[in-house]
Symmetry: D2
Subunit: 362 residues, 4 copies
Amino acid sequence: MKNTFGNSISITLFGESHGAQIGAVLDGLAPGIAIDEEFIRAQLDKRRPVGKIGTARHEADAYQIVSGVFEGKTTGTPLTILIPNTAQHSKDYAATRSLARPGHADYTAYAKYHGYEDYRGGGHFSGRITAALVAAGAIVISALREKGIEIGTHIRSCGGVADIDFGDVKADIARLNTLDFAVLDEEKGDEMKAKIEAAAMDGDSVGGVLETAVIGMPAGVGEPWFDTVEGVLSHALFSVPAVKGVEFGDAFAMVNGRGSAYNDHYYISDKEIKTATNHNGGVNGGITNGMPIVFRCAVKPTPSIFKAQNTVDFIKGENSVLELKGRHDPAVIHRARVVVDSVTALVLADLLAQRYGTDWLA
Amino acid sequence: MKNTFGNSISITLFGESHGAQIGAVLDGLAPGIAIDEEFIRAQLDKRRPVGKIGTARHEADAYQIVSGVFEGKTTGTPLTILIPNTAQHSKDYAATRSLARPGHADYTAYAKYHGYEDYRGGGHFSGRITAALVAAGAIVISALREKGIEIGTHIRSCGGVADIDFGDVKADIARLNTLDFAVLDEEKGDEMKAKIEAAAMDGDSVGGVLETAVIGMPAGVGEPWFDTVEGVLSHALFSVPAVKGVEFGDAFAMVNGRGSAYNDHYYISDKEIKTATNHNGGVNGGITNGMPIVFRCAVKPTPSIFKAQNTVDFIKGENSVLELKGRHDPAVIHRARVVVDSVTALVLADLLAQRYGTDWLA
Amino acid sequence: MKNTFGNSISITLFGESHGAQIGAVLDGLAPGIAIDEEFIRAQLDKRRPVGKIGTARHEADAYQIVSGVFEGKTTGTPLTILIPNTAQHSKDYAATRSLARPGHADYTAYAKYHGYEDYRGGGHFSGRITAALVAAGAIVISALREKGIEIGTHIRSCGGVADIDFGDVKADIARLNTLDFAVLDEEKGDEMKAKIEAAAMDGDSVGGVLETAVIGMPAGVGEPWFDTVEGVLSHALFSVPAVKGVEFGDAFAMVNGRGSAYNDHYYISDKEIKTATNHNGGVNGGITNGMPIVFRCAVKPTPSIFKAQNTVDFIKGENSVLELKGRHDPAVIHRARVVVDSVTALVLADLLAQRYGTDWLA
Amino acid sequence: MKNTFGNSISITLFGESHGAQIGAVLDGLAPGIAIDEEFIRAQLDKRRPVGKIGTARHEADAYQIVSGVFEGKTTGTPLTILIPNTAQHSKDYAATRSLARPGHADYTAYAKYHGYEDYRGGGHFSGRITAALVAAGAIVISALREKGIEIGTHIRSCGGVADIDFGDVKADIARLNTLDFAVLDEEKGDEMKAKIEAAAMDGDSVGGVLETAVIGMPAGVGEPWFDTVEGVLSHALFSVPAVKGVEFGDAFAMVNGRGSAYNDHYYISDKEIKTATNHNGGVNGGITNGMPIVFRCAVKPTPSIFKAQNTVDFIKGENSVLELKGRHDPAVIHRARVVVDSVTALVLADLLAQRYGTDWLA
């Protein structure tokens, strides 16, 4: 189904970096969900490059909802968001059209689309498409919040600097969602920014780890095989540009330990079943257990760097050297964070709709 | 779609640990694929517990193909594999029916299925279901091999012991596929087994990391959004019991480095486009680049341990203590490896069929 | 997705006429639905050939549920039904393997499956597969009945003889479901049977029209585009062997009239919104309006006849003449009726689950 | 999946009659398909109301392709078509917002969307949405034509007047595709127009039957169960507004005949396998047999009429009388024809892509 994702609630993405418009169609939403334009705007702003550590491309992200909303509320029919592209410098790309940027999709796009792909600025592969994902996600995030489900992501590490752990998850989520550069410890955040700026100075880039927590999910959502919470979330999360790894709970930390150290013991507190630890990240057997869902995404260093790199001209079929020009981010992790939140909201809303029906969300 | 996965080639899983039969329906296979019964048998044997480090349950795994094969070849219509359950000790489970085994799905199953779930031996959540997945996967692995696509997995680490890296990937894959305990360095394998046995002695368990390589995949397979190679593979891989993390290439290692260190430079060799390194694991922008696909699965320590554990009785709603009896593996990683190979084959065959059509595989 | 149908509740069909077993996997059912074995048995009996107007093949249809049911109730995990084939006369078919039976799928199967198809008795195309569909449908029919939704089908016409119209729909459905040869007017039924027998005497066959009514469906189920009630139902109904046309309400009768004659006027009765007529068959804009859903399936005359017919040998590539032997029905319409009911139940349960969630059915 | 249809090639529809824009996203198209803007324009013109028998609403249908096309050819990534709404008279509808127009979806929309639906001009249910379907379909029709697959539809009957039968199908299709009012016999067409005008004079409306033929489809496309050619086509065809019945070949005519009269005998001509008759409409066992695919759609009389009609106010819950004002078609069949062609192209392209891969179409 390619650029469409979801069963009961689905999203379809379209657009290219230098095309006329990018956008998304969000289908299966319950009717009657209030559209909070200010919040959509705020989320888009979190995704946009800002200050010294962002790119030089400034898109207004003047999104427009052209269907599926009537008198400020969802109608229940497909909701379409359009975002015009206005700040393209297409010429930057023509000269290097057939040089495969290392770490980018130029060559794989060519292999798949036989040279018919819109190569300008990454075309359909561009991170710019995530603006549509973020606008769509904002609507679902609002709706889930009304149901007591809240999502927050912090930069767990960046450029080798680690943030502190989640503490009071509810409070942490609330605070993270007010921040542009989402860290739990602002000092650590400043150190990260310094690392990003240092990389930028060198014409280089950095990556990091995003850690997301979701509270308020009822126990019993997800499926035992294939449509496990982990499986469906990771399926979508790997569409967040630069994400190359996804782990739930303490996955890659647990591998060297023993079961006795990592089994999450259950206990009853105020008639609620909880676990004393959360090494499994809120999911057992593919199904939510009522604890916070916690996962981490590995975000590789941005592949666009300004150093000379060996590569090939895939049309001429010869070795070449590439020196990138144009606008590029030395880091995307602080921007990717709101994309992760959006994807998470879309996936969880869909899993909830499978069990409780599409009307449930309103 | 729950227990069905795949678009052009799909698999449907069914069965419970202590039910009459488990099985799988494999649909969308090209007609004319030869069934190699001996290879299916061999793959099932790799999944079965063996020797000191396995459980005490010995299933014959006498699978039967009841549809979709005629005169030794696939017909192109749904291929159904049945495996009868014969060695159940159902009574082992009745006594602890409402005690949530930490790290297991008992409580989440109860939350989802309202108490109607077949709780015996993990029911539909049981690792036993993977026998059907392995039998189905074996058919696809054979078919892919005829197309030059080969899959191999080794135990990258277990119990804190690390195996060596892939070297000559083609030769390594060939050799791994002859082994029951799949490591590249047999001495490391012996150390791992010692760790597993030591954990077993303590009534405890260990986990590890599986690393998989696939060679022969053409460049240009996969989709830019959602149905990325990473997304679809991880979606299915999280159904392998105990897998809690999936990373492609050097994902979690790259996060602390810079782009200049991790961009894979392209070069031409014998008119073929290759990359000098493979930090991206053979996938850029969600699409294969012709290099080996490499990914790692974090396998948590087996949750079934014999130590007393605090937990709850979720029917009575009170705290309790659980002491497990019955047959349990101190490690599943050496068995999970063949499940990973099977899942990988199914996913890749489906992605190939999307681009080249369902007839392509024969 | 080929042999799998449904979104929230899905069915996967497998098997060949002369294979070891046929069957179905039913997924997405709510946990806790009681399995009424007697009713499944009764439904299977309605599908089986009986008396003078049936074929000579007598299958016991000894179905077995091998997964998804525990202590007499659905678990919520995939429910698998197996039916062994026991009465095959495979030799009947080998001699005419490459002669395309007119009206049958022999040649199209060959074109699709390149000669690897199991050709015996129609293979996977055989009407025999509908036994699995009927057994699965019976479970859903029972569950829907508990929710006040009832389905009934009568033979609207057969061999040129017309049955009377539905009158008191609720009472008619109840009575139809007790009959083996489902007509509202038994005298018309006897005339139909005489037509079938007369055709059988001539080595020929007859067709007819099935008319189905469903009561108790709430208003507001279905989708405006693509997943219209009509679209999803017809999608599945065309899998009922020999069905070549599907109409809702008075479709093919309305085409020559005017809007003023066929618009169904709304009125209020006891605070319920109803329509004075039901020319639209209970569906407007793809969505149920609360009136009975009424549709008709055109069932073509059974293609298996004993007269000599011109055809081709599609392997030799030459013209030929076919004289069928073996066991064949002079009519299938009286048997197809229970298949239509089953398909209808599966589709409606899925549409309901989309809106109300999968838990709703229990 | 609601407003998205198709597996390998899919379409997503969005928009409301009086919203900002309607549109479609077409995904899975092969890269390199030439976009024939003139043909898209011509197809949209066929859908638009013209002359005396059309509505008074004149939309420019100034479509815009905002993604998925680069330098005049498809890129292989999602192709998005937008059509702005410009000629809305929204006030026409506010006064009768809660009066259920008989034969329309007002009440069912209310039941499904709880009153949040955009009720103006039918909202998302409006026939206006088919403009996007037609624009998308035009692209696929062009691409199929390059592959030798051609689609043509004529008005088989309208207002009680019957057109003549298909003769030389290839020539007939070619000629039909040049006509605005598609009939094989122009005199019959004039009679039909007279019937439409007469109905318009009376404030009434008429319906009819559309008959479609497709040539050039290879044998062996489609699936035996569920995704039969008939099933998938009908699924989509019931989304064409006012279609209430779909039959393949001579379905509803065959029901009263015998098998010997309706079995299509095979013969060989110039090494090609053909059938002497085509009562099955080119499909056996759900799979194409290489003969023309022929089907008919029953189009009910347009429900919008100007006569006073009894109905209910579904918000107040009381009986009422409705007298429609605004712009309404006395017939839609001559416009629906191009929608049917579009839907047919989309479905067949998808079925072909399933077997031959998505690259095949270019």
